[in-house]
Every structure is written in structure tokens, then in C-alpha cells.
Amino acid sequence: MILVVAEQHDGKLNRASLEAIAGAQELLTAAGASAGPITVVVAGNGASRVAGDLAAADVGGVLTADADGLSDYTPDAWVQAIRQVIDQTSPQYVIFPHTYQTRDYAPALAATIDRALITDVIGVKQVGGAAAFSRPMFQGKLTADVAPVGDAPFLITFQIGAFRADAMKRGASAAAVSQANVTIDAAAIRQKPEAPFQEAKQAVDLSQAERIVAVGRGIKTQENIPIAEKLAKAFGAELAASRPICDNGWLPMERQIGSSGQTVAPKLYVALGISGAIQHLVGMKGARIIVAINKDAEAPIFEVADYGIQGDIFEIAPALVAELEKS
């Protein structure tokens, strides 16, 4: 069987869980029906509140794992909980969405049970009768098809956005929901988490912007930021940035697009000197029209772009400003 580990916070389902189920359904096609059925497990105090949403999927069943010690997420507790569910269900594959939470504990879980973990998977295919997993390598410059080594279960994380939640097959009727029998050794939990908080009030809500001009490493220095500002103004767009620009303090953190910043889906997204590392792409690939301007023709940003200009951003940005100001 295939075990999908869904994620919830305070009884709210992380939507990436549905993408993981969609990916698992695709894996079932690639690996053959004998790899099935799919069982979804969700851990934590809010688990029972999201079980209904998960049971709507075309899966064999939903398990909730709740116990003392699972009220707040910690890697130590989650390794204990999911390990017990794996022991009880003997899956061939264990599928996770590639969230920050998964990244925090899934490698420790894999090391604890001494099994393979393949992360950030964007596709599933069949190679020589077995399932192989496609994942980006070298900052997205290359894609690798990889196979797990060793015994099952094989742990797999699916990249956010690689499978679509709305492509998830729904069941004819709701799948059965039952409780997994887990007990947590609270004394073995070494991390003491505090309540999540937001740093600065998000004064800029880029998710509502119709047009965005985003600037990346290609801008080279802080002194060049006004070049991007002028382009944003000419497009009637909000100015945003990839992570390194905000790390350097050239633009405030609240203008960062990507997995650690905001997720946007504007009508127009202009990527100026952004190579397109996956952490950035997950925050903007939902844009309707993407324009990439980059000196490197091989930059991964061109893979998601509708229009591309390969060239020197310091020549092209002013030319665009001049053109836009003509009319």
C-alpha cells in the first residue's frame, strides 16, 4: 500500500496534502495496482477535524493519529508517531508534501528506520518495471530520474505545486476514517516549541497585485535597485524580489516572493535577473503571464516563462521603460 502523510495545523489542512494525494494516485498508476491501496494518515490534535476533507479523495482509508505529545508539532514526536503508523501499515511507499515541516522531520524518520528518502519530487515514471522519481538538481539546471536503494518502504516528498490539488481524484463515496493507535514517549521529545508569530506586519500584500516586477541576483548591487523600481513603475506594477535580494537588505523582507515569502498569482509577472531557483518558482509559477529577462539562456526561469528575452538587464530594462512610456 501507499501511505500519504497529510499535514494540518490547528485543524486546518495544508493544501499541499491534497497535492501529495494527487501525486500518490499518479504513483499508483506508475507502480501498478498491486502497490495500492492508498491510505492517508494525518497526525496531531487537529487531525480529526481535517479527516473529512481527506476522506473525500479516492483513497482506501484515512487514519488519524492523535495522542498526548502531538498537540504541537515537534520533529521528535512526529518521528515517533509516523514510525508507528508505518510499522502498523507496512507501506511500500510513504508520500509527503515537501513542506517545511516535512523537511524538518522526514529525513530524521528515514534515518531512524534506515530507509531511502527521495525529496522534492516533481514527477513519477516507470523505468524498467519499477517506479522512478524525477527531481530537480543543481538549482534546477538539471532534472534527475532517481530510484531508491534498499528495502521498502521508500519515503518520497513531492514538491509543492508539482501535482495539482484540483487534479486529485475524488472517491464515489467518503473513505472510511479510523484512528491509528499511537503512543508518544513525551520524555523523549527534546524540542520545546513556542507559538508561531509573524515578524513585521505585512504592510505589502503582493498577493493582490495585478502586475509584479521582481528582481533577482542579476541586479548585482543595491545601487542598481532603482533600475528595477523604474521598470515596475512603468509597468504599473508592484516591486518584489527573490530571496537573496532581501537577505542582503536591498529590499524589505515583506517584498520577497517564494517558499519563505509570499505566494502570488498576478496577471503579469516580470522576472528581472532571476535565475529561477525552485524556492522562488513555487511562489510565482501560478502567474498568468510570466516574462523572464536574464543573461543566461539556460536559467530555469525560462522553463516557466511565456515570453523570454535573453540579454543584459541593464540594457533591456531601460529600453522597456522607454517603450512603455511612449504611449
Binding site: Y100, A110, A116, F138, V149, N248, G261, A292, D306
Partner: protein
């Protein structure tokens, strides 16, 4: 405080990928290398912690002979000494194999705190830190943006998705994976480069055969998810054509 920082040597950002003959790995003779960027932030954080609390910073790296380049660089930036687990097979090894290679030598040292980058810019597994923590049986936390040490306890700021954070406390010894941007990097001074030449790099053999948990079957250029219209010509011509298409074809202006 005895701090370890694990660093990896990765291809430079400017490197244009070329594949080996059987298309399962990159052509290594074409590659120029640098320190993995998140590891550089982990190194900087370890140097700042040493400045505040005293002790030493030990660079730990697993890889072929070539990784001495980034070990020397870390020593030039201020690390005190280094452990190099050397094996040609570690060049293409995964996070599981790298952690297995480093764990015995690092366990012997009994570090108070181990820092490393949240993921590598080459294979990008984002697994090495938690796997090493599990092997060393120390608590861990990932994607850290602030490290506060008070005696034998540790309090960190962990980044969550979408601009959220969380503080987490845990006892020492512990392992943290550091997010890029946690600090401002320092660069090596001439004095640092000279001093690095005299610093110790302890070479250690791998504890057993290097065995990855995943096998690369094929490596290739990514398949496009979209049909990209590339616009050529001079900057002025390209600008004109792009604006025209955005107005008339895409209708987003």
C-alpha cells in the same frame, strides 16, 4: 563552546551543466567549485557564536581531495581547524552517505553545537542535517534564522512558510540547519588566508564503503512546462516587441 560547521563544496552558480558519457552525472572536469551558500551562512553564524561565547569552530567536510579548497576558505574566514573525511566516491554521494561518512569522526569530538546549511545547491536533498543529528543522537531543528545560547540551553528562531516564525528551545548538544540570510557574511582577509595555511586539517578515511540511498538513473535538461516565446533583436527592438505582445496577444497591459 565547541562548535562544528559542516560545509559542502558545490559547483559555482555560473557553471553551465555538461553531462558525462552515460548521462548519469555531470562532467566533473568542467566544473569550478565554491562553498555551498547556506553552509557559508552556517560558518558565519558559528564564528559569531565563538566570538560571543568563546571556544572553537571546527570545519567538517566529506568529499574528494578537491573539497580542501572550501575547507581552506573556511579556515581563512576564521575557523580554527578542520576534519576532512576524504573519499573520491563522496563527490556524487547523497546526504545519507555524507552523514554516514562524517558521523563517527564527529561523534568522537563531542561537539556542543553543530551547524550546517539547510540544503546544498547541488543535489538539494535538504536531508543531511536531520540525518546527521539522528546518527549522533542529538536534537535538531531546521531552517533557523536566529541562534541564542544560554549555558546548556539553546533557543532558536525557526522559519515557517509564508513569513511566519517560531521560537524553539532545546538542550545542548544539538544540530541546527541554517537558512541563508541569517547574518551578513564576512570574507577572508589576507591575514586570514596566511593564518589558514598553518591550521590543522585532519584527514579521516570513510568508516566503510560509501553507499547512497538513491541511484541516479538519468540526468537531463529540464522539460519545459510552457511554450516560451523568445524575443530577440536589439534591446530597443526586443522591448518594443515584448510590449506589443503583452498588449495585443497576452492582454495584460
Amino acid at each position: 563552546m565547541k562548535i562544528a560547521v559542516c560545509i559542502k563544496q558545490v559547483p559555482t552558480r555560473e557553471w553551465q551543466p555538461r553531462l558525462n558519457a552515460d548521462k548519469t552525472w555531470i562532467r566533473e572536469q568542467d566544473v569550478s567549485y565554491e562553498m555551498n551558500e547556506p553552509d557559508a551562512y552556517a560558518l558565519e553564524e558559528s564564528l559569531r557564536l565563538r566570538e560571543k561565547h568563546g571556544g572553537e569552530v571546527v570545519v567538517c567536510s566529506a568529499g574528494p581531495t578537491r573539497v580542501q579548497q572550501v575547507i581552506r576558505e573556511a579556515l581563512a574566514r576564521g575557523a580554527d581547524r578542520a576534519i576532512h573525511v576524504e573519499d573520491a566516491a563522496l563527490g556524487a554521494a547523497d546526504a545519507y552517505a555524507a552523514a554516514a561518512a562524517l558521523a563517527p569522526a564527529m561523534a568522537e569530538e563531542q561537539f556542543d553545537l553543530i551547524l550546517t546549511g539547510l540544503q546544498s545547491d547541488d543535489q538539494g536533498h535538504a536531508q543531511f542535517g536531520p540525518v546527521l543529528a539522528t546518527r549522533l543522537n542529538v536534537p535538531h531543528s531546521t531552517i533557523i534564522m536566529e541562534v541564542l545560547v544560554d549555558g546548556q540551553s539553546l533557543r532558536v528562531k525557526r522559519e515557517l512558510e509564508g513569513g511566519w516564525f517560531q521560537h524553539i528551545a532545546m538542550p545542548l548538544p544539538a544540530l541546527l540547519t541554517i537558512q541563508s540570510g541569517i547574518n551578513q557574511l564576512r570574507y577572508a582577509t589576507l591575514k586570514g588566508i596566511m593564518a589558514a595555511k598553518k591550521k590543522e586539517i585532519k584527514k579521516v578515511a570513510t568508516p566503510g564503503a560509501v553507499a547512497s540511498r538513491q541511484k541516479v538513473l538519468a540526468l537531463y535538461a529540464p522539460t519545459k512546462s510552457k511554450q516560451t516565446t523568445m524575443i530577440g533583436g536589439s534591446p530597443a527592438e526586443a522591448a518594443k516587441e515584448l510590449v506589443k505582445r503583452l498588449r495585443e496577444e497576452a492582454r495584460v497591459l
